[in-house]
């Protein structure tokens, strides 16, 4: 018998898994001093996130990364942890639990979180070497070891867990087949259409499927050699993984005489038939239901923690259940009902087979009661919210299936998350158990600015993603980046998106293209024409002082510093600062055009002159002649600053309010030569008549009597977008600082080949305002980083090449015959 210390009540927790430990955390936040707590775990590990085991199997996370409460946490909170030692019996009369090798431990209150056991089909061969369940770290270790020795795996079970296991083994290089009893995959979470889309996608990734497949026997003498199906089909395998489901682990409870059915029976207060014994998680049965997904279990933990802390009001009400699949690049989401239950229910579906997108929303009495999403799942959490809040959707029913952005434009209530009012202790990420306080602390202590960084440091929103909006709101509240739910893969060479790659480059200090490919597991040795220019830019932006530009990863125009034309000749556009020129420059251009027989001379939309049809080998000489008149590269070929268009402004115009031309020249002098994610065009108009068309530029300045309106995110191209208003300023110096800061924010955070217009539309003008206007320190830091980077790049590439640099680029290797 262990005596109680300090006269506190003794709480013994059997089970060191997610449900029990979340309950302990909930208890500690409410009543940290009430109990002397001992936690007993059968596995030799601290509490880890079982949901993320599939990511460990797939090699995307390490075991350490999925630990929720490291051993230090138990010490800090005064919790005694005994691991690797299962409880063998409960004596409810003596109020003790027995541990092999330790003896008996007394309790005043007992919490059972014994979890579940994998279901095994009643077939011969389960005892063979090479047959594993997929339940705990030991199983994952065994599967990883098998994948290193063997080639062929069969997963029995095409549900959530089975498919994640199959994908993990595939990622580890095995050839994988999935045997599933039903005709479509994940039939409990997906309807037939979504199940078929999923099967098609996974099939194209090289996983074989045997649906309507009943496993008869696992074949082999000592070790597994294959699987035999009832219809006679045989599949060879060295590794067989059982993932057909789970059942509550109630052996201990049953032996102790507690009331059990399928699971250990509990009431709304999470108490078992013994009032001193509570239970949570996958081991329980509540109202005829057993549990395998995380959301209802967190709710149980909250109620149970409150009860243990002495709150007799807390009552468990099952929340809506939602699921997402953790297979990189496969987006599946489902919540609530999968289909209309009767004629009163409505189904709204959207199916775009070519893009692999399928969405279904199920309505009852104008309320959302279920949703199945495939391929485009960012709105999943929103549908869950509508379900939870029982929102009447009749006003925006027609837009509902297109998602939140459309519906809110059509009048759906815009849900604002009030971060200021949220207490620090409130749980934000349910999958990983991260509170608002922990997220704020990490953002402040580590200076995090992006969603990815918060995910990496706190694990918040790193699992199912349903709390992403909250995490983003916290970031925005503290002045960090609100970013971007979907981060689509960069190209066929990788599954990583632009945001994730940029994040890894900074956080892991990757400094060469080869290092990025190596660290992030690129599938191709050289990359391709999509990722190489992007990586080259990302590295240049992240490490402006040290990165060596890779000419072979530049698109021809940027490598050659001229624009390639359809016949293989090039065009040459010298810079005209703010659209200003003079007789000497014009004479030089005229002379060059004649001397080199340049066929076309044209005025561009950006107030400059374009010489078209120049042969590649003529370029250095043409540039040399232009340089002599003071003309330099206009970077008309660059994903970089192009032009600053101006009107004549107060110097000449009778309506001009400020010197728009002069300001345009100053801005261009600051910005020329910069590399950006896509081309950038600016304009300065001298009055609101806006003759320079500043409101369809990436950055525009519209002069007014009172000063300068800075507008951003416009575009006059394929999809015309009018700028958003950023700020009104009173001096030119302020304009320069804001323009530099905005450009740098765009340089650091946009995806490659994303113009400012879609970028601003994606992150929102509020976010840009927050970073560039509201946060003055951040603005100055951005502006300074921009100027530093500019010091590295502001030298005329034409002058260098006219003087002989990169000569091989402009000469044939040989002339033959």
């Amino acid at each position: 018998m262990t005596p109680a210390r300090n006269g506190k009540e003794r709480l013994v927790v059997v089970g060191n898994g997610m449900a029990a430990m979340r309950t302990v955390e909930e208890l500690l936040t409410r009543s940290p001093e009430r109990y002397d707590i001992t936690v007993i775990g059968a596995e030799p590990h601290p509490n880890y996130n079982r949901i993320m085991l599939s990511s460990v199997l797939a090699g995307e996370k390490t075991v350490d990364e999925v630990v929720i409460n490291p051993r230090g946490w138990y010490d800090e909170n005064g919790v005694t942890l005994l691991t690797g030692n299962p409880v063998t019996a409960i004596d409810r009369v003596a109020r003790t639990v027995s541990l092999a090798g330790v003896g008996d431990i007394s309790y005043d209150r007992l919490l059972l979180g014994t979890g579940s056991k994998p279901l095994a089909p009643p077939i011969p061969g389960l005892q063979l070497t090479g047959v594993h369940a997929f339940r705990d770290i030991a199983d994952v270790d065994a599967m990883i070891a098998a994948s290193e020795r063997h080639r062929r795996a069969v997963v029995i079970g095409g549900g959530l867990l089975g498919l994640e296991a199959a994908w993990g083994l595939k990622r580890r290089g095995m050839s994988v087949a999935v045997v599933h009893l039903m005709s479509t995959l994940m039939e409990r979470q997906l309807d037939a259409t979504a199940g078929e889309l999923l099967q098609r996608d996974l099939d194209s990734r090289g996983i074989a499927f045997f649906t309507d497949g009943q496993t008869e026997e696992i074949l082999g003498n000592d070790k597994a050699e294959g699987v035999l199906l009832a219809d006679g089909r045989q599949i060879e395998a060295d590794l067989v993984v059982l993932a057909i489901g789970i059942r509550p682990n109630i052996d201990l409870a049953r032996a102790a005489g507690l009331d059990v059915n399928r699971g250990l029976l509990v009431g709304d207060d999470m108490r078992t038939s013994d009032p001193n014994i509570y239970a949570v998680g996958e081991c329980i049965e509540h109202n005829g239901q057993v549990f395998g997904l995380v959301a209802p279990i967190w709710e149980q933990a909250k109620v149970c923690g409150a009860r243990l802390a002495g709150n007799d009001e807390a009552v468990y009400v099952p929340p809506p259940i939602f699921t997402s699949l953790k297979i990189t690049g496969v987006d599946v989401f489902s919540a609530g009902a999968l289909a209309a239950a009767d004629e009163a229910d409505e189904e709204i579906t959207l199916h775009d087979a070519r893009r692999g997108i399928y969405k279904k929303v199920i309505l009852r009495d104008d309320r959302v009661v279920g949703s199945v999403l495939y391929g485009h799942v960012v709105d999943g959490p929103w549908y869950v919210q509508l379900m939870r809040e029982k929102t009447d959707v009749s006003a925006f029913r027609d837009q509902l299936v297109f998602g939140r952005a459309f519906a809110e434009r059509a009048g759906a209530p815009v849900s604002k998350i009030d971060i200021a009012a949220m207490p620090d202790a409130e749980q934000v990420c349910d999958c990983n158990g991260v509170s608002k306080g922990r997220i704020c602390e990490a953002i402040r202590a580590k200076g995090l600015t992006t969603l990815d960084a918060v995910r990496a440091h706190t694990k918040a929103s790193a699992s199912c993603g349903s709390c992403t909006a909250k995490v983003e709101a916290i970031l925005a509240h503290l002045g960090g980046a609100v970013a971007h739910r979907a981060d689509p893969a960069m190209c066929k060479c990788t599954d990583h998106g632009h945001d994730a790659v940029r994040h890894a480059i900074r956080e892991r200090e990757l400094r060469t293209i080869a290092a990025v490919r190596e660290a992030l597991g690129w599938r191709t040795p050289d990359g391709c024409q999509k990722c190489r220019p992007a990586l080259n830019y990302f590295l240049l932006c992240a490490w402006p002082e040290t990165y060596r530009d890779d000419a072979q990863s530049r698109f021809v125009n940027e490598r050659v510093h001229a624009n390639i034309q359809k016949d293989g000749t090039f065009s040459v556009v010298p810079r005209m600062w703010g659209g200003l020129t003079n007789p000497r420059e014009l004479r030089a251009i005229a002379d060059v055009a004649e001397k080199y027989a340049i066929p076309t001379v044209k005025v561009t939309g950006g107030q400059r002159i374009d010489l078209l049809g120049v042969k590649k080998e003529q370029l250095p000489d043409v540039w040399g002649d232009l340089n002599k008149a003071g003309l330099v590269s206009g970077h008309a070929y660059a994903k970089g600053l192009r032009t600053v268009k101006t009107c004549v402004g107060s110097e000449w115009c009778r309506f001009g309010t400020q010197d728009s031309t002069g300001l345009g020249v100053k801005i261009e002098k600051m910005c020329w030569g910069s590399w950006t994610p896509h081309k950038v065009k600016l304009a300065v108009s001298g009055c609101p008549r806006n003759c320079a068309e500043a409101t369809i530029k990436d950055i525009g300045v519209v002069c007014v009597e009172a000063g300068y309106d800075v507008v951003v995110g416009g575009n006059g191209g394929v999809e015309v977008r009018v700028t958003d208003h950023l700020v009104r300023l009173s001096t030119e110096a302020e304009v320069l600082e804001h323009v530099g800061a905005f450009l740098q924010l765009y340089r650091e955070e946009a995806r490659y080949l994303e113009r400012t217009a879609p970028w601003v539309a994606r992150v929102g003008i509020d976010y840009v305002h927050e970073r560039v206007v509201a946060d003055a320190d951040n603005r100055r830091a951005l502006h300074e980083r921009f100027l530093m980077s500019q010091r590295m790049v502001q030298s005329d590439p034409w002058a260098e090449r006219a003087a002989g640099a990169e000569a091989h680029e402009y000469r044939a290797l040989a002339e033959v015959g």
């Binding site: 390639i564 359809k566 091989h808 044939a812 290797l813």
Partner: protein, 118 residues
């Protein structure tokens, strides 16, 4: 292949890795692109994309293929064939590299000379 004549066009180190340079032949409209891959394999193709005649020598070299700069068709350097779903092929020219020197198979009697320095 007895009697095949080879013409020296330059040194391997005159072409950047993952890069290409042009050789101008007797037919001014049919220049030849000589490619050097990351692992120093050398290929020669007629420098015209089968799609719209773009100069393949200006493309981004990736593995044993090049992406045409005009519209992004990917052409395999060893066969001259376009990557599916695009369809088309350019002629390839036999190459040999001997002690760091690149030789192209000659279509007919002709001789090589270096271009004048620019």
């Amino acid at each position: 292949m007895a009697g095949r004549r080879w013409i020296e066009v330059g040194r391997l180190d005159e072409i950047p890795r993952r890069g290409s340079r042009r050789v101008r032949g007797p037919d001014a409209d049919l220049p030849i692109a000589v490619f050097r891959t990351a692992d120093d394999q050398v290929f020669a193709l007629v420098d015209r994309c089968p799609h719209k005649g773009g100069p393949l020598s200006e493309g981004i070299v990736q593995g044993c293929a090049v992406a045409c700069p005009l519209h992004g068709w990917v052409i395999h350097l060893d066969t001259g064939e376009a990557e599916a779903p695009d369809e088309g092929q350019v002629s390839i020219i036999a190459v040999k590299v001997d002690e760091g020197r690149i030789w192209l198979a000659a279509p007919e009697a002709c001789s090589a000379r270096k271009p004048e320095a620019a």
